[in-house]
Symmetry: C2
DNA sequence: TTGTAAGCGTTATCAG
DNA sequence: CTGATAACGCTTACAA
């Protein structure tokens, strides 16, 4: 049992089974178009078992010129919107015989670039980027001819993209508030350099317009830098005609706002209705949060499916896939309080 | 610019620079003990730039017999306790030139075993398992002589293990409640097949004992199968002397309990104090949750450090590292209500 | 049906 | 200091 040093190779198997190395390869891969007698097949399999032989995937990759590995460039796996995406990607990858390399970029374009180079060296078969921040990466992918699908944004026409229907999601959220009788509806959001943010603002405005409610820029709070919910609340409630409902960019922001308002004595949803976005944390609060659910798992899974298709057939037409969001009505929204 | 098909190889570089392939390898790796004239070095680097040459890491792995890749077997990356661990692992891996393969096992031992085989074939340099469920995996790692470090449990003596101080964490939580005047303190927990659960129960009992409070089995609710917080609350509050404080196994459970109690008209923390464990979700609730913070990021980082050390020096003594937890006092705990 | 031999792109050993 | 040449372990024509 002193099998200390080296792992057995196909050579060892071949020798033990009394066949050639190619025969071993043929039976192990069930190489189509090649027939092996039951007799030798059995001998080979026997030898494999005895030696506990594991084919060396590295050598295989080198010979076949593919690694069956894909990479996921994620902003930060510790951010609650990404684990489910990663999960979706991994599930699809696994079912197709691919492994998943996880790369946190923190949105730093230098890190993205470094990881891009590493993945090029490691010859991954394809890459999924969640929210690309350096378009140079896209250029490299094209130049090096490596499949790359983008999750969320940017919506580059030269790459496959999978994203959620932010406009509709946002529209539904605001329309829900309107149907509850609210007309003073605030939207608090982050820097609109990302198209996602723009789309949500668009949905917000569209719902107001469809309901005949004039857009009031006092009710749209955009934080170009760090989001300051406290400041937003201060400003929102110091205007003559303050909002009776707030639609936040994310569940996280909605929860912060809920906390601030609660601390100030407002009752939710009696005094103020609140809607979030994402549905990552919405079920944990008291009261639970009405929110727009994003299909994170499905987005990841779809991105992985598209990537794998493209790996297998690089000439497929580019796809931009929009996945539906869903309004989840919980406890943080209620009809407009008459006297407020 | 029609560089369609194949990526350039060290051969191409050598030819363009007018040197041999080994020279290219030497300058690119700065091979120690080998001096290259500034002249040729420059020519090689020039050629690399012109061809945009990326050394093939697969070929390198094959030649060097190491992949500089590690795998993380995680129960489910979508479970909020794991993303931070993964992040800690990835950060350390990246800084040491390793890449991270993410494998979700869902605690299914068959999946673990399959992934183990895949990682063996892919010749990863080492594996970190978060909560191993199939000890066969440990056996294989030993037999195949591949470094494996365990996060959390089980505490196998033949492997490096990194875990949090559950006993102390639990003790601190319960002692905090005792100091607030509570004597009827319930603990709701999951199946104690895992040592983690046992340790938390141990800390709970130890705190009671140190305070001279007799242990009452009516107050310890163990769910061997699916946790049913509703049932736990029902039973707990139907006994003659119901609890005034509840210590839950996790933040998630604590939040469910908080919701149920709130729905039934209890005020938290005035009527009932609640403590969670993990600190993954505790800051999101209203009121925010007092909890025991686990150092997930550090656990991941430490596990990765140990793994990489061991890869580089397999003869190091086995380490079992216990990391401290920290009680975070927020709003869900208060002095015992006199009349309750 | 099975065996032989030529890649795959590096690293590493040894002469020169 | 530089250049052949042999591994590394597998796949895959091409022969037999």
């Amino acid at each position: 049992m002193a099998k200390k040093k080296k792992a057995p190779t196909s050579w060892d198997v071949a020798r033990l089974a009394g066949v050639s190395r190619s025969t071993v390869s043929f039976v192990l891969n069930n190489t189509p178009g090649i027939k092996i007698s039951e007799e030798t097949r059995k001998r080979v399999l026997e030898a494999v078992k005895i030696l506990d032989y594991k084919p060396n995937a590295i050598a295989r990759s080198l010979a076949k010129q593919k690694t069956e590995a894909i990479a996921f460039f994620v902003l930060d796996i510790a951010n609650p919107v990404f684990p489910n995406m990663a999960r979706g990607i991994e599930d699809v990858a696994r079912h197709n015989g691919y492994i998943l390399l996880l790369c946190n970029t923190d949105g730093k374009s230098l890190r993205e670039l470094r990881y891009m180079n590493i993945m090029l060296e490691r010859r991954v078969d394809g890459i999924i980027v969640g929210a690309l921040s350096n378009e140079e990466v896209s250029k490299i992918a094209q130049k090096k001819n490596i499949p790359l699908v983008i999750l969320e944004h940017p919506r580059l026409p030269e790459h496959d993209v999978v994203y959620a229907d932010n406009i509709k999601g946002s529209y539904d959220a605001v329309m829900h508030l309107i149907e509850l009788g609210h007309t003073r509806i605030a939207h608090i959001t982050i820097n609109p350099e990302s198209i996602i943010v723009q789309e949500r603002i668009e949905g917000y405005k569209k719902a107001l317009k469809d309901a005949g409610i004039p857009f009031d820029s006092d009710l749209l709070k955009i934080f170009y830098d760090k989001v300051d919910e406290e400041l937003a609340v201060n400003e929102l409630f110091s205007i003559p005609n303050p909002p009776t409902a707030i639609f936040a960019f994310s569940d996280f922001m909605a929860i912060q706002i809920m906390k601030i308002l609660t601390k100030r004595g407002y009752k939710i949803p009696q005094d103020i209705s609140i809607v979030g976005f994402d549905d990552t944390l919405a079920d944990l609060t008291i009261p639970s949060l009405t929110t727009v659910s994003q299909p994170f798992y499905e987005m990841g899974a779809k991105a992985a499916e598209i990537l794998i298709e493209r790996i297998k057939n690089p000439n497929l037409p580019i796809q931009h896939v929009k996945l539906p969001t869903k309004l989840i009505i919980r406890e943080s929204t209620a009809p407009k309080n008459k006297e407020s």
